[in-house]
Symmetry: C2
Subunit: 125 residues, 2 copies
């Protein structure tokens, strides 16, 4: 009925006690300051408008701010606001050429963040 593993009793009818000494409690996990910086990266992608902008940049390789307003359907100041946020998060980099600002994806930024999370494995394919 009761199974014993490593000195800990496991019973099918009784729920185990988190504090029975058999559950070591939380270990590992991200240190607070690391969590802050990582969360900022994810928060930058946590807005639908920014996510669309980012995906358009990923798809196009390089794109001008003036080509974002239309597809995204937001005003110019709003687009500017969101590109700034993405750049601040280190996800994209901008280059001013003449009157236009061209945006590219910062290579490796997102994979780095995911690796820091200690995910078992990222996408196959």
């Amino acid at each position: 009925m009761a199974r014993w593993i490593d000195g800990c009793q496991y019973n099918d009818t009784m729920p185990e006690d988190p504090d029975d000494g058999c559950h070591p409690g939380p270990t590992g996990g991200l240190p607070p300051e690391r969590a802050d910086s990582l969360a900022a990266t994810f928060a930058a992608l946590g807005d639908p408008v920014r996510l669309r902008i980012y995906s358009l940049i990923l798809a196009g390789g390089e794109i001008c701010s003036c080509h974002l307003e239309g597809p995204v359907g937001k005003s110019q100041p709003t687009i500017s606001h969101h590109t700034s946020k993405l750049a601040e998060a280190g996800l994209i980099v901008g280059e001013k050429r003449g009157r236009w600002t061209w945006w590219r994806a910062a290579p490796g930024r997102l994979p780095e963040s995911l690796a820091a999370l200690g995910l078992p494995r990222a996408t196959g394919r």
Copy 2:
């Protein structure tokens, strides 16, 4: 001085015009409703407290809510609020056993989201 590629002029001194016909404009990118759902997933990880909780769950495999308050340093309602958000985003799943709720990571949820983004390549090693 001027280079011609595919019928488009590229000049080192003059910045190119986004609307010269050589830049096709934005193509692809996430459809709005897909962006909404994806952004929700990222937004769930966009808070330092939730990110710490999620990383603790990833590290521990399974963890009780009562073991989160301490390391995270937030009140019980706040912890409950954040675990709800993570569960709502489909990143973790909870199981009630007796008085305690045990949380596990929903396998594959995050990689799916990243694949939808069409990232060039996920983390190497």
